[in-house]
């Protein structure tokens, strides 16, 4: 069967194989016994040939170079010097080591690039929804200006001021976010409310202001819409169109089993 072949997948080339052999010997590249290395390399090539592998031309070129180095090593030392000549760049041993050292550096660099590559897979860029300034238009869309609302609040404040001083102790019991929450609940129960109704229970100046700020915030967040059916008529507050509600229904589908132990946080 000729279509079944075994392939050296792991070695990228002869340099890769040489590095593998050096690593197996657990020696520094500069200290490697080139003769021994040449022998091992050629053994591998032999096995590859026996396995009927496609031996890339580069492997054969390297094998020849190693054979050359090896054969030179067999010569007496004085003759070696003669062959080497003056140009150190032509020393085939040095040339090979230089190549190995350089290749090793890039192989390591490739490993670090791979780490970066994997790291990037786990990096999520913040992709926010674009800021929506159309919410600023919520008031304008309703034909009301913020001044209309302020006007209305002013009237309510005057009314509160006319009441005898009372329950000043409770002045600070409301925060804007409390009010927001209670307004959200209220509007869920009754989809349409008179503006003045929202302040009916207000007992202090602070509470009126807090309520007003809460309404403004909810209008800005498009949770509420202010409408006025006729100019200078009573302002009414309704639930805004549902598409931009920040809290979608699935929130309630979560079923937290009570009493489970918490993870260490």
């Amino acid at each position: 069967m000729t279509d079944y072949k075994v392939k050296f997948e792991v070695f990228e080339g002869p340099l890769d194989l040489l590095l593998y052999l050096i690593k197996k010997e657990e020696v520094d590249i500069y200290e490697v016994n080139l003769t021994k290395l040449a022998t091992q390399f050629i053994e591998y090539i032999e096995v590859m040939r026996m396995l009927d592998l496609d031996i890339a031309g580069e492997f054969l070129v390297m094998a020849s170079a190693l054979m050359y180095i090896k054969s030179r090593e067999l010569l007496p030392v004085d003759q070696q010097v003669a062959v080497e000549g003056d140009d150190e760049g032509e020393d085939p041993r040095w040339e090979l080591i230089r190549q190995l050292v350089e290749y090793k550096k890039f192989k390591d660099a490739a490993g670090r690039l791979h780490e970066l590559e994997v790291n990037q897979e786990n990096v999520y860029p913040r992709v926010p929804v674009p800021p929506d300034f159309s919410a600023d238009q919520a008031l304008a869309d309703s034909g009301l200006s913020v001044f209309d609302l302020i006007n209305a609040v002013n009237a309510i404040l005057k009314r509160v001021a006319q009441q005898p001083e009372q329950r000043d102790i409770f002045e600070d019991q409301w925060t804007v976010s409390d009010k927001i929450e209670s307004l959200v609940k209220l509007i869920a129960e009754r989809p349409r409310l008179k503006f003045s109704e929202l302040f009916a229970a207000a007992s202090s100046r602070t509470e009126v202001i807090v309520t007003f700020l809460a309404i403004l915030e909810l209008i800005r967040l498009r949770q509420l819409t202010a409408v006025q059916d006729e100019p200078f008529g009573e302002i009414e507050i309704t639930r805004a169109a549902p598409q931009t509600e920040p809290e979608p229904a699935p929130a309630n589908t979560a079923t937290p089993p009570a009493g489970e132990p918490a993870p260490a946080s």
Binding site: Y4, K7, D52, S71, F106, L116, N122
Partner: protein, 242 residues
Amino acid sequence: MELKFVLESILFSAQQAMTSRQLREILVTAAEQSEDSTIKAFKKTPVDNIEAALEELGREHEQAQRSYRLTCVAGAWQFISQPDYAPWLKALVGHKSRPPRLSQPGLETLAIIAYRQPITRTEIEQVRGVSVDGVMQTLLERGLIEATGRAEVVGRPMNYGTTNAFLEYFGLKNLDDLPEAEELRRMPVEKPATLLTVDPGLATAPPELLAQAESPQSVDPALAEQIGLPIVAEDAPKEPNS
């Protein structure tokens, strides 16, 4: 109003990474649309100031050690999550679509180009010791490298270099941001003072044996395994390094 916070707010709301020049344009546009002197004051902010402010912001967010930070990739700034939180973000937004990982030959070739650019194909092959035709093709197609001109040597071969897409793929600010950039760039391997004297040994395989490429019938893979060769079964491979 501090410049760095203005820039931060823009990056915080931006849909994509932004360069200092793009940020500058936002400052100009905002100034033109506004009557407010505070906003107008940023109109003529030099790009240098913007870059200094961005660097400062980057350091601040690094030091804050939160679950996100501000990074600069290929000159463009963006808020990103720390990799540790990937499992939850995966649960939140689903898997990121990303091209397949690069092969080992791809990474090696890319590393050589990245550190030694501009570089010709022949020079790359000298370092790797094998042909890089197929690999180069893949890298070019993925836009990670590009031809940058012709080398002034015989035959005037093409020079290659990495692209911005390369920086983005690996999350690098610029080429100086490559790991061990100084060491690997253009640094010739130093020849040691003395080469170890190698003991003469015996040749096991005469050269002529290698020259004649006469191979026997296919051999049991078990043999290869026996001598410790990593093997992969495959049908009719033409290119070992694809």
